[in-house]
């Protein structure tokens, strides 16, 4: 219920929202949790395993219980914390893990079965039969236990990612963070101040303390205004720093549009990578519950949260509130409630010397030993110095003390240090290089201490950055001591919950210890303590204390589990922003792309490139029909194919030839101007890296082509060789793949076609096989290479990319006029297999030059990359699998890529394996299937028969081993010189 006149948003405009279909009214500035409590909605969810009724426990991002689902269909977003979700008009939230309704959840039967569902019950119960796990047990368990569900539809929300750089990143904008930011900013540092809340001020927004004679929240607002006016400060609200990474890199999640009506034009979240020279962690502290019997009923909350709801949002979470604590701080809750006119039915303080700060009953040496109320707390049983009594109460504010928010300091394997005074862990110095810790996160809990520590740490940081620390006046503020006595669990009948989100209670931890899962990491896995969306932010320290007790060790010796990023859940959509769907990988399009699509060609991916598979003609019903036609067209008339995707590297300089000689295993020093040579590139270990042609365009200029797949790798390799191995060579090079559009013109009529478009015609004498040079096409300077990947009389013609689209259309039109046309990758593949040309199907990283029959290409007159390794004894003398051609004995015989080769009649089992098939096609030229493959000692086995066996496709074919060049072994077609 609302308390008149209370709350920072007391004058906020009314906002209408729904929860589980019921319409409620809240106030602008409310979180969903605050608005629900204002409407006396206590029951907000069902627990993970036992489906116990649960309410709101906290007022921050550490909330384990109050998780809701928002949005529907593709926009369905589960596990949203009601404690951080701001309300807006039309917000619709639904509870989770309850059916048919929150009030009557049939799976609550699990709670009655709880004696059988203790920690480790999966491992013990569902052991057999083995096949039942996947089919029966797991689906049932998954349906019964869990949090919110995904829709299963593709998420269409927009997300963004961004980078930021600063001198000092300040994480958290409470009293320490604000003072640290002001100090660093006034010293001239570039500052980023990030806070996960919508409003900066931290605990000052939740307390009634004065700072410098004003209300804490007003003071904070003033400082924020000062900071906002400074050019060197960036304020980031609704931004949680989620992880600390190497070299001062931090991940941060900004909730850009969670607090407003979803809008496709605005990103929902933005994932930031912030690089900071230094950082100051001012993340505050989190309050821990006390483990007493049935401490999980709706209405039982942390004490700090109860006064946050009261002071910040003017909401009293109960009509008659009790407080249960072991420290002075929790008494603030009672004091604030009494001041606001809310009944405080008692403060149960476990300490014998419990203080009295206001007009409310205090039960010294008090313990809450039982609670009652099915869907909401109704009463508690208290045992105290004066006896035992029941107290009617609908809200119990509990506090077992505060844990500094050390998480980020542990992200690089740092371990926190136990502090006996505050009975919790504090960050260990130097855990994250460049990170300092101030305020409550460092174990300093008074407002005065936080303000002072913010100034002090920021001064140290700016001095280290070489700046002069600006003068900052220390504001006056409360400096009460933080007094606490240990209280981890209370004996009594009923389960004493630790991890509310995972339904882990004290007995589970004891069971883990009893079954020898004594290491804290083992206990965590056995019980699931500290997992899921809250990562045990409320419960970890208490669970450690219980484990320490059960194993007879101290808490420091027991140690902590490892805190890992992210500090709060981060959507994959935010981390991968921009990479969804088509954004996953960029698409590279050739200049012929649109013309190719216009012709109805299906595209296939070649790395990032999109290339045409084949060009269907009217009446053709299968790809093979189109492919066969295109192959015949190239063999008999002329075909056009866009080959721009091949890597092209322009290499220039006096030592360019020497450089080529070092990266190719064959010789390039002897290559004349206006000539092209095939080159084979090895890795240093002697295996083939890539192949391609290199043309000498001028005295000191070459253009190298690489395969489409290896273009990037070759460029990187050339950089390596030039910079690391041969800096003595005077050579420069750069990729020109994107700068040139290049088309194959292949077939007996290729020269005729070219002569119809070139400004000056060519003839066979001046343009023999492997010639190259400059040409003009309608006045445009281009390059012509007489090279062939089809075995036909063929050329490749290149023009600057901006002319590619028009040249392609012109080439296609001319080819079609001459009875030819355009061909795609399928035909290109058949043409090259018929000629025994290799691709990366053959040079797949495990073959050397000798294996593919190019052993003699490795020149021994010079050194080159891979030269020495090519002479390894196992390469020269060993029996290896070598490239062969294969054709079926029966012309109808089927060959398949990936099949293995066996001696005819041998069992087709691994030990008899003689080799494998890398490429296959149906050859319309020869009228049967062809294959390339590798066969043990294959070069010496031409003429033998082998059995091809494909176990996957059930194919067995007897083949003849032959030379890999099936067609025109003397290359007479490509070398054609007549001018007819």
């Amino acid at each position: 219920m609302r308390v008149a006149g209370k709350g920072l948003n007391a004058h906020g405009a009314p906002v209408t929202f729904t929860f589980d279909g019921t319409t409620f009214e809240g106030r602008e500035g409310d979180t969903l949790a605050a608005a629900l409590l204002a409407n006396d909605v206590r029951l907000v969810g069902r627990s993970f395993k036992y489906h116990r009724p649960r309410g709101i426990l906290t007022a921050g991002s550490e909330e384990p219980n109050a998780l809701v689902t928002m949005g529907t269909d593709a926009a369905q977003d589960p596990n949203i914390r009601a404690t951080t979700q701001e309300i807006y008009d039309g917000l619709a939230a639904r509870s989770q893990n309850a059916w048919p309704s929150l009030n009557r959840d049939v799976m609550a039967v699990n709670d009655l079965l709880s004696p059988f569902l203790s920690a480790g019950f999966y491992y013990k119960t569902f052991m057999w039969p083995k096949s039942f796990w996947e089919k029966v047990y797991e689906p049932i368990i998954r349906r019964a236990a869990g949090l919110g569900a995904l829709s299963g539809a593709t998420n269409e929300d927009t997300y963004e990612k961004a980078f930021a750089h600063c001198d000092v990143l300040i994480i958290g904008a409470g009293p320490a963070g604000l003072m640290a930011a002001l100090t660093a900013a006034r010293s001239g540092a570039d500052v980023i101040l990030a806070d996960e809340d919508s409003q900066m001020g931290g605990r000052l927004l939740a307390e009634t303390y004065d700072v410098d004679g004003q209300a804490g929240a007003d003071w904070a607002a003033g400082i924020v205004e000062d900071l906002r006016g400074m050019a060197n400060v960036r304020l980031m609200t609704r931004t949680t720093v989620t992880g600390a990474y190497d070299q001062g890199t931090y991940g941060a999640l900004e909730l850009v549009n969670h607090h407003r009506t979803p809008n496709a034009a605005v990103p929902r979240e933005c994932f930031w990578r912030i690089v900071a020279k230094r950082s100051i962690l001012c993340a505050g502290a989190l309050e821990r519950p006390i483990a007493f019997p049935n401490n999980d009923r709706p209405g039982i909350m942390t004490a700090g949260a109860v006064r946050t709801y009261l002071n910040r949002w003017g909401v009293a979470p109960g009509k008659s509130v009790t407080v249960f604590a072991n420290n002075d701080d929790a008494h603030r809750t009672a004091v604030d409630l009494v001041d606001a006119g809310v009944t405080v039915a008692g403060v149960i303080d476990s300490r014998a010397d419990a203080p009295q700060f206001g007009d409310y009953p205090v039960f010294k040496s008090g313990l809450v030993i039982a609670t009652k109320g099915r869907l909401c707390l109704e009463s508690i049983t208290v045992q105290h110095s004066g006896g035992t009594r029941d107290i009617r109460t609908d809200c119990l504010a509990m506090s077992g003390g505060w844990n500094p928010t050390v998480h980020l300091t542990c992200h690089m394997n740092g371990r926190p240090t136990w502090d006996d005074y505050i009975l919790s862990f504090v960050p260990t110095d130097g855990s994250i290089p460049g990170m300092s810790v101030a305020g409550a996160a460092s174990g300093v809990f008074s407002t005065h201490g936080c303000l002072e520590s913010g100034i002090k740490i920021a001064r140290e940081v700016v001095l280290e950055l070489g700046l002069t620390a600006g003068d900052i006046d220390m504001p006056s503020a409360d400096d009460s001591a933080y007094r606490i006595e240990p209280l981890w669990q209370v004996e009594g009948k009923g389960r004493k919950w630790l991890d509310f989100q995972n339904d882990v209670h004290v007995k589970d931890i004891n069971l883990a210890a009893q079954e020898n899962f004594r290491s804290v990491e083992h206990m965590k896995r056995y019980t699931t303590q500290g997992m899921a969306t809250d990562q045990g932010k409320n419960s970890n320290v208490s669970a450690l204390a219980v484990l320490a007790d059960a194993t007879g060790r101290g808490i420091p010796e027991t140690g902590t589990t490892t805190f890992r990023p992210p500090y709060v859940p981060v959507s994959i959509g935010a981390m991968g922003a921009g990479a969804q769907g088509h954004g996953f990988a960029p698409e590279r399009h050739m200049t012929s792309h649109h013309a190719t699509l216009d012709r109805g060609a299906p595209m296939i991916e070649a790395g990032l490139w999109y290339r045409p598979s084949y060009f269907p003609k009217t009446g053709e019903t299968t790809w093979l029909e189109s492919c066969n036609r295109e192959v015949n067209m190239v063999r008999n008339t002329v075909g056009i194919c866009d080959v721009s995707t091949l890597g092209k590297i322009d290499i220039q300089g006096p030592d360019a030839a020497a450089f080529l000689d070092f990266v190719y295993c064959n010789t390039f020093l002897t290559l004349k101007e206006n000539r092209v040579r095939y080159g084979l590139m090895l890795r240093e270990d002697g295996y083939v890296m890539d192949d391609g042609t290199t043309a000498r365009l001028g005295p000191n200029q070459y253009v190298m082509t690489t395969t489409t797949a290896a273009a990037g790798q070759v460029m990187k390799h050339l950089d390596w060789v030039s910079q690391a191995l041969r800096p003595d060579l005077d050579v420069r090079f750069g990729s020109v793949t994107e700068q040139w559009a290049q088309f194959a013109v292949a077939g007996p009529k290729s020269r005729d076609l070219l002569n119809s478009i070139l400004d000056q015609g060519i003839d066979g004498e001046s343009w023999p096989f492997m010639a190259c040079g400059d040409v003009q096409i309608s006045g445009v300077a281009g390059r012509l290479f007489r090279i062939s990947f089809s075995g036909e009389h063929a050329y490749e013609i290149a023009v600057p990319s901006r002319y590619g689209a028009s040249l392609f259309r012109q080439l296609c039109a001319q080819a079609e006029a001459m009875g030819g046309g355009v061909y795609g990758m399928e035909a290109l593949n058949v043409l090259r297999i018929e000629k025994g040309f290799i691709t990366h199907s053959e040079i797949h990283g495990r073959v050397n030059a000798a294996d593919i029959g190019f052993g003699r290409m490795v020149s021994q007159k010079k050194d080159c990359i891979g030269n020495t390794a090519s002479q390894r004894p196992d390469v020269v003398g060993g029996e290896r699998e070598q490239l062969v051609g294969l054709k079926p004995i029966d012309p109808k015989g089927k060959l398949t890529a990936g099949a293995h080769l066996f001696v005819d009649g041998a069992d087709a089992v691994r030990v008899n394996d003689q080799g494998y098939v890398t490429s296959v096609c149906y050859s319309p030229t020869l009228g049967h299937d062809l294959a390339l493959g590798f066969l043990l000692d294959g070069h010496n086995r031409h003429g033998e028969t082998v059995q091809l066996v494909d176990h996957l496709r059930g194919v067995e074919t007897v083949c003849e081993v032959c030379h890999p060049v099936f067609l025109d072994p003397d290359n007479t077609r490509a070398k054609e010189t007549s001018n007819g």
């Binding site: 190497d246 001062g248 890199t249 240093e684 390596w720 020495t868």
Partner: protein
Amino acid sequence: MRLPCPLCGERDRREFYYQGHATMLDRPARDAGIDAWDDYLHNRDNIAGEVEDLWHHEAGCGAWIKVTRNTVTHEVSGAKLVNGARK
């Protein structure tokens, strides 16, 4: 993680391609013998501590650099161009 490119300054590690240990800079002579080549090609120590390794500023200036890095603390203590590093 960030690496100090000697040409571009400190850059995000996503701009770099990781190659491996800087041993690759010490290419043996052609006739250095099979053991020297075997070591060069295949044998690497798996060091917990300071290592020198090779990175290519692939999405940047194209420089190959030798980075001194601690595999335990993740501290990056320096980087040189491989060109200069050889001398």
